[in-house]
Structure formats: structure tokens, C-alpha cells
């Protein structure tokens, strides 16, 4: 469950897309020569929160991922057009059965201390992540590899040696990876920080190498020079980086200001060039100011209210449908969230590919329900609560945050005015208490959000399989499970996407979840900052190609 606009959001890229779908914002034409050379190229971005770690093997929150992505590099990297490019690996070979990958590390790949980046570094890094004692909470990203899960599982006594894991450096420049099962999206994963290499000699020698800028050895476009806790992280261009020709910035500063209004103030004073997490109450003013630099990027995420359908009165589909139809979603987007969000009449957001990758899954699927107060009232009286009379006391559980609170209050009021339901109370809980409550299914309705793991509708749809760990609605439907299983096993895109559309239809007919809006990512970026990629998932921003043009 995602509390939207929370920095710890897990957004993982699992799927390789070699076509630019709308999920790739901010990409402009390449840098033009002269304008850049005159001013010192510095970008100062507010990271919003202190990274919990910058050890690639443990990085998990968005601040961690953003920094690690700027200073480190994996076998591959997503470029400005959101295509997967060779990075540390110059090329690769994939076996016919799709289980064995051979990566050839480029000869000019260097660590910041001048040492060559070798296949041994990769092998060491991956096995380190899987070591139970190292205890990375992201180790499961590597579970696609043969024996990776078994080795990482502390209760498994058969696979206890790292040698049994399916990754091996054949020589300094060849890395061979064996997967447990063929996984088409494996290549895309190698662009994710958990798969990044570490400098073997340094890490073996000094377990706390990642704490100080002096001992941090990296291989990405930028190099860490200073980390002032809860203030800023200063990076400069990494002259040892193989693709340094493409890197334009002299200095990249990640500032850490968590209070949204303070960060906005610093942006408006020109202290910051890029700020996200804008107070929604300031959006109208920023929209009205032409030079504010307000931009709205796509975000692969949906806001929804999850019914607990094992509890009354939500065990009745008519109640669920009535509540869903009685809202005015456009008003929620216009007056509550204010970030140009789109009303959600289905579950899967815009920005994901259909059978033809240039078609949008959402547009092809269309809307699955409509708002209608009459219809809502009809369903509610059918269910035995005419005009909301006799509707039991219900609690809408949300994670405490200003935006969630406002959304909940607006929805509460709409149900009151449109359906006559007076008995909905809002229960805001602190983050971890909220998580505990929904995962034990003690809620009646829970406000939540869901963001993409990877660029595919499956990232959303597989949540609601009968025994899914994140399915906290109590929804169990065999047909739905079969459709998901079919989509996961077929090699025919037509069948696969078709099954997913059908599954979404079932989900919306049964309505264990009530979709509200599809999120966007409003951010502020000064007009002189160019070529910053704003991915719809994963790190907040990609700076490799960024430059300043005043």
C-alpha cells in the first residue's frame, strides 16, 4: 500500500520497454554546444528526505535510489527516451531458453579510483546482497536468479553457500547469470540499484565504506564529494566515468529540506532549481504564475479506497457500487488534490502499453463504471439502506497526512450529501499503525494508493489475486486468478493483454476497491534546467544528461 507522495515509496522497474511510452517525461532534444560552456553547470535539487543509505545493495527509498542512480551505474541504464541502453555492459547474449545471460563488461569502465570495473565486482555485489547476514530488505529483487531465494532464506539449510547462486564471473569482463525461470524483464532489472556493482577490494576491506564521501568508490556519472547529514549531498562530475562526454553538469547538489513550504520558499528564492512535494494549497498560485516552472509529470499510481468485503456492509456489492458511483471525482481532482489528476473510472492508470505498445492500456480498456447519484441511491436502497437510513457505523481508515485527510473529508461529505450516509467516520493513523491495521484486515474501508513496480498493467492487477500478500480487500475470485495466471504464462501478447482487460473488468464489476483518481507528479523546475529525465517510476530524477542553459 502506498501513501502517495511519501518518499519511501517503492517503485521498482522490472520490465524492459524498448519503446517510448508516455511514462517518460521531461526528455527534450540533446544539448546544444555553446550556451552551456559559459556558466558553471550546477543543479540543486531538493531530495526532501535524508537517504537512509547510499549502499546500492540496501538502497530502497526514493531519496536513496535517486542519489545512487546518479553516482553509480549498473549493467544497463534507461536513457532520456526511457529506452534501455548498455551501460557497464557493452553488450550481452541471451540463451535460447531465456535462462542464461552473458554480459560483457566494457573495457573503459572505471571506478572513481581508477580501477577497472570487473565482472568480479558484479558477482561479489550480488552475492553480498543475497547474504542472509547482510540482510538487505531489497534482496528479493534478485530472487529471479537461480538459487538466490534459497540462499537468502535463513531457514533453507540446503543452499547455504554463495557458490550455488547462479551468478559467476567467467573472467574480468564476462559475467554469466543463470535465472531460475526465464524472465523477459530481467534485463530492465539490471538498471536498478540493487543490481549495481560495488568495488570489491574496498568493500571487503572496509565494511563502512559507504558512510564517508572519502571512502565511497563509485562508477556512475557523478562522484560524491560531501555529505552533510540532513543538509545536502554534493556531487561533482566523475572524470573517471566511461561516458563522461555526455555528462554536462559540473556539480549536482541534493539538498535535504523536508518541510514542504520551506522547500518551496527556497525554490522561489532561487536557492533550489528543482523541488517536488509541493504543498497542494500553493498549486493554484503556482499555476497562475507563468514563470513558476510548475510542471506536471505522469505518475503510474492510483488513489483508491479498499473495502474490506469480509465485513458488513461491504460484503454487499450493491453498497460498494453505490459508494463508488456517488462521488464527483473531477471535483476531487480540481479542488482537493489540484495537481491535474484524472478521475479514475477503472483501476489501472494511464501510461501503460497495450497489445500495440503505442496504444494505451487504459484508453483501450475504457471506463468500467460511471458516476450517477440516482443509480447510487438505487443501489443503496436495494441493499436495504434507502436514503442512507440504517447504514451502519463505518470507519474510513487513512494514513495521516494533510492531503489524505482532505481527500477523506471531501469523500465523506459527498457520501453524506449524495447518499444521506451520516455514519462514516474518518480514522487517521500514523503510518506504521496504519500498515499494521490494514495488513491484519481490521479496517472497513482503507484509503490507499498503489504505484507501479514496473511498466506493465500486471504491476497493478496481480495485487488482487486471491491470496496476494497486498490484497487487503478480502477479494477472492477464481476466474480472476485464472486470468492472471493465463496472462503470466502465455507468450502471446494478444492473449496476455486480453486476459488483463478481462481481469480488470471483473475487478470493477465486483468493486472490492473504489478507484478515486490517477495521480500525477507535480514538480517545480527552473526553466534553465534542461534534459532532466523524470521517470514515472523508480528514481525521482535522472541527471546524467542534464545541463544548464541560461
Amino acid at each position: 500500500m502506498i501513501s502517495m507522495r511519501k518518499a519511501s515509496k517503492i517503485l521498482v522497474c522490472l520490465f524492459i520497454m524498448v519503446f517510448a511510452v508516455s511514462g517518460c517525461g521531461g526528455a527534450k532534444k540533446g544539448p546544444e554546444g555553446d550556451a552551456r560552456s559559459q556558466t558553471k553547470q550546477v543543479v540543486n535539487m531538493n531530495l526532501s528526505a535524508e537517504p537512509e543509505t547510499i549502499d546500492p545493495g540496501r538502497a530502497k527509498g526514493q531519496p536513496d535510489l535517486t542519489v545512487v542512480n546518479a553516482i553509480m551505474e549498473g549493467l544497463t541504464r534507461y536513457n532520456l527516451k526511457c529506452e534501455l541502453e548498455p551501460a557497464m555492459a557493452e553488450r550481452w547474449e541471451i540463451s535460447d531458453d531465456g535462462r542464461t545471460y552473458k554480459f560483457f563488461i566494457r573495457k573503459d569502465a572505471r571506478w572513481s579510483n581508477g580501477d577497472p570495473v570487473t565482472a568480479y565486482d558484479f558477482e561479489y555485489a550480488w552475492k553480498r546482497v543475497l547474504d542472509p547476514e547482510y540482510a538487505s530488505s531489497y534482496a528479493y529483487q534478485l530472487y529471479y536468479i537461480e538459487n538466490a531465494y534459497e540462499y537468502n532464506d535463513p531457514d533453507n539449510l540446503e543452499v547455504t553457500s554463495p557458490d550455488m547462486v547462479g551468478v559467476k564471473a567467467i573472467d574480468a569482463s564476462t559475467l554469466e547469470v543463470t535465472l531460475a525461470v526465464p524472465a523477459l524483464h530481467f534485463l530492465g532489472l539490471t538498471a536498478f540499484p540493487t543490481y549495481f556493482p560495488v568495488h570489491k577490494a574496498t568493500v571487503e576491506d572496509n565494511p563502512s565504506w559507504d558512510i564517508l564521501a572519502d571512502t565511497y568508490i563509485n562508477n556512475g556519472p557523478f562522484k560524491l564529494v560531501r555529505w552533510e547529514p540532513f543538509q545536502k549531498i554534493v556531487c561533482v562530475k566523475n572524470e573517471a566515468y566511461w561516458d563522461r562526454e555526455q555528462v554536462n553538469l559540473d556539480e549536482l547538489i541534493f539538498s535535504i529540506v523536508s518541510e514542504e513550504s520551506t522547500a518551496l520558499a527556497l525554490y522561489e528564492r532561487n536557492d533550489f532549481d528543482i523541488v517536488y512535494n509541493i504543498p497542494s494549497q500553493e498549486l493554484e498560485r503556482l499555476k497562475a504564475a507563468p514563470d513558476s516552472g510548475l510542471k506536471i509529470a505522469d505518475e503510474l499510481a492510483v488513489a483508491l479506497y479498499i473495502f474490506n468485503i469480509t465485513k458488513e456492509p461491504f460484503d454487499d456489492v450493491r453498497v460498494r457500487k453505490a459508494l463508488a458511483a456517488a462521488l464527483d471525482r473531477q471535483a476531487l481532482a480540481d479542488y482537493v488534490t489540484r495537481g491535474g489528476e484524472r478521475p479514475a473510472y477503472a483501476y489501472v492508470p494511464y501510461g501503460l502499453p497495450d497489445v500495440n505498445p503505442w496504444d494505451d492500456f487504459r484508453k483501450m480498456g475504457g471506463d468500467y463504471f460511471a458516476e450517477s447519484i440516482e443509480e447510487a441511491r438505487f443501489w443503496l436502497s436495494e441493499a436495504g439502506y434507502p436514503d442512507g437510513k440504517g447504514f451502519p457505523e463505518v470507519e474510513l481508515l487513512i494514513n495521516e497526512s494533510q492531503d489524505n485527510l482532505r481527500m477523506a473529508q471531501a469523500v465523506q461529505e459527498m457520501w453524506k450529501q449524495n447518499l444521506g450516509i451520516q455514519s462514516v467516520t474518518i480514522r487517521p493513523l500514523e503510518w506504521r499503525m496504519y500498515l499494521g491495521t490494514i495488513f491484519t484486515m481490521e479496517h472497513q474501508i482503507a484509503g490507499a494508493g498503489w504505484g507501479a513496480d514496473y511498466l506493465d498493467p500486471m504491476a497493478f492487477l496481480d495485487v488482487y489475486v486471491s491470496f496476494g500478500g497486498n490484497n487487503v480487500s478480502g477479494f477472492k475470485n477464481e476466474t480472476y486468478d485464472e486470468l492472471i495466471a493465463l496472462a503470466n504464462s502465455t507468450s502471446d501478447p494478444q492473449v496476455r493483454i486480453g486476459a488483463m482487460h478481462q481481469a480488470e473488468q471483473i475487478l470493477m464489476d465486483e468493486m472490492p476497491i473504489l478507484p478515486l483518481i490517477f495521480y500525477t507528479k507535480p514538480y517545480l523546475m527552473k526553466d534553465h534546467v534542461k534534459n532532466v529525465r523524470v521517470p514515472s517510476f523508480g528514481p525521482q530524477m535522472e541527471f546524467k544528461w542534464a545541463y544548464i542553459d541560461r
Partner: protein
């Protein structure tokens, strides 16, 4: 000397009780440090718990913790991989202390000035000015004041930066916000104790002898009227030296105060305990110091009496 020794022993017991109480309370709050929006596989949760000894029974965790604390190791932060509780204090304390000490100095100086002026010029304009300032000081919540100061000085006038820790100029607004409240308290304390001293016989005698007022105030009044202020400043300093969540948040300062809130929301158990120990120790030590200073100022104070007061 015997007093100090006794104080140290009784304080250690107090400290021990507080740590144990915190340990119990913090494990009573629902949720753990590794909860996340997506359910982690069991294998990973097990590894994480094992790494921080959280898989052991609570009693055992408690014993391990106490043992480590006795060797001066407050443990690693569970949430921030590259921080230990010791390093958190080491990083945050200098910032908090710089601002806190500046704020206390300002408060003592301005507060005493206001208090003394108000007492001497009773019922005249300095008295009214001082009461207005001191009542405003305890009437406006810190976060509202800070917001107002930022609006005025950073935006309207542009004199000071609105946030971040960058040189002396950036200290101005946080110090002002922080000093506001204690200034008000000190002004009130000083006013009433100076009034009291002014009514004493020996002051009246001195005035009758025709000694100048300024001389009397500096020589006699201040020395004798400072006691209540000193007893206030001791504990206040402990609070200020451990930082203010609101001020640090609004001004984006890398101090200690935010950790009191952050550690709980992260269920960062070691940090919660470490901060408790740090704060309580600081408070106890400062209180002992206050007692000693008071004793130096006024030899009539007997330690046995101080004990009863519990400070």
C-alpha cells in the same frame, strides 16, 4: 562533595528507571521498524530481525541493550544504515547546542534586562513594555511565530535566509524563535524576584545612604535576585540543548530535535532509547549544576533542602 556523590547515585537509579520505562513503552506501540507498504517476504524479515537482534525475546534484547549502554555504545540506528545513535548525537548536538546556547544567552540577557527594568520602573512604561513582550512570548506558539518570522524577515525584508544551516546569518531566525519563550519567562521571574529584593532592608538602607541606583542593582540586586532564574535556566537548557522539532523542521536544521519525533515514527528503537538517555542525563547534570551555582551564590541554601525539592 557528599551531596554530589549522593546525587549521582540517586540520578543513576532515576536514569535506569527511565530507560526501562521507555523500553517497555516503545515496544507497546504497534508496528515495527521494517513495516513497509509492500509485504516483505518472510525470509527477508527474518534476516532483518536477526541483524538487529529483534528476533530474540524482549527480556534478552533488554539485557543486551543495557550491557552495550554500559560500555558507552548506544547501538546502530535501525532505519538509517549509515548512522549510529552515537553518530546521530555527535552530528546533531553541535548544531543544536550552537543555536540553543545562543538562544539562552539572548534570553538571559534580554529577559533580565526587561525584568529588572520592569521592577525598577514599576507601573511606568518600561514595566508595560516588558509585560507586553513577556506575555506575547508565552502566548504565541513556536510554529506560528517561526512562520511569521520567516515571512517577515526572509521574504518581506530579505535580511536572513529562510532555512538551512549555512553560516551565522542562518542562525538569526531560529535563535530568535527559540529565545522567544524563555525570554518571556526570565523577564517575569526576574521582575518578581527583583521586586522582592528591592523590598529588603539592606537595599532600603543602601538607597537611604544615597548610593546610585545602578550601583545598587549591579552590586546587590542582581546577585540576590538571580536564583529563580538560574533554577529555571538549568532545566530549560536541557530542553533547548536537545533541540526543537518544530524549529528544526521549519528552518531545515540538522539538529537533534527532529529525532525525538522521527525515531518514534520509524520505530527506530535504539534511537528512541539513546535520546532518552541523552536527554535525561543532560537534565540531571544541569540540575546538579544549578544546585551548585545556587549554593555558591547563596551559602545559606542547605543541600538537604534541595533534595526535597527534587530538582
Amino acid at each position: 562533595m557528599r551531596y554530589v556523590l549522593r546525587k549521582i547515585i540517586s540520578s543513576s537509579i532515576t536514569l535506569f528507571v527511565i530507560v526501562s520505562l521507555t523500553f517497555v513503552l516503545m515496544h507497546l506501540i504497534p508496528g515495527g521498524p521494517f513495516d513497509s507498504e509492500r509485504k516483505l517476504p518472510d525470509s527477508i524479515v527474518k534476516n532483518l530481525n536477526a541483524r538487529y537482534n529483534l528476533d530474540k525475546p524482549l527480556r534478552e534484547q533488554y539485557i543486551i541493550y543495557i550491557k552495550n549502554v554500559l560500555t558507552g555504545d548506544l547501538g546502530p540506528s535501525i532505519k538509517y544504515e549509515n548512522k549510529t545513535v552515537n553518530s546521530i548525537i555527535k552530528e546533531g548536538f553541535p548544531v543544536t547546542a550552537a543555536i540553543g546556547v545562543a538562544a539562552i544567552f539572548l534570553a538571559v540577557f534580554v529577559g533580565s534586562l526587561l525584568g529588572v527594568a520592569a521592577a525598577i520602573y514599576r507601573q511606568r512604561w518600561p514595566d508595560y513594555a516588558a509585560s507586553i513582550i513577556s506575555t506575547l512570548g508565552i502566548s504565541v506558539p513556536g510554529f506560528i511565530l517561526a512562520g511569521f518570522l520567516v515571512y517577515l524577515f526572509a521574504f518581506r525584508l530579505g535580511w536572513f535566509p529562510p532555512a538551512l544551516w549555512d553560516g551565522p546569518k542562518s542562525m538569526a531566525l531560529p535563535v530568535l524563535s527559540l529565545a522567544w519563550f524563555p525570554t518571556a519567562i526570565i523577564a517575569r521571574l526576574m521582575k518578581s524576584s527583583v521586586l522582592e529584593v528591592l523590598n529588603q532592608e539592606y537595599i532600603k538602607t543602601a538607597r537611604a545612604k544615597g548610593l546610585p541606583m545602578s550601583y545598587i542593582v549591579i552590586q546587590h540586586v542582581l546577585r540576590n535576585a538571580a536564583a529563580p532564574m538560574i533554577s529555571y535556566v538549568g532545566p530549560a537548557l536541557a530542553t533547548i540543548l536537545t533541540g526543537s522539532f518544530v524549529i528544526e523542521n521549519i528552518f531545515a536544521l540538522p539538529g537533534l530535535g527532529k529525532w525525538f519525533v522521527l525515531s518514534i515514527s520509524n520505530r527506530d528503537y535504539t534511537v528512541i532509547l539513546g535520546l532518552t538517555i541523552f536527554y535525561s542525563t543532560l537534565l540531571i547534570v544541569l540540575n546538579i549544576l544549578v544546585d551548585l551555582v545556587l549554593a555558591v551564590l547563596d551559602p545559606r541554601i542547605r543541600y538537604t533542602k534541595a533534595k526535597g525539592a527534587g530538582l
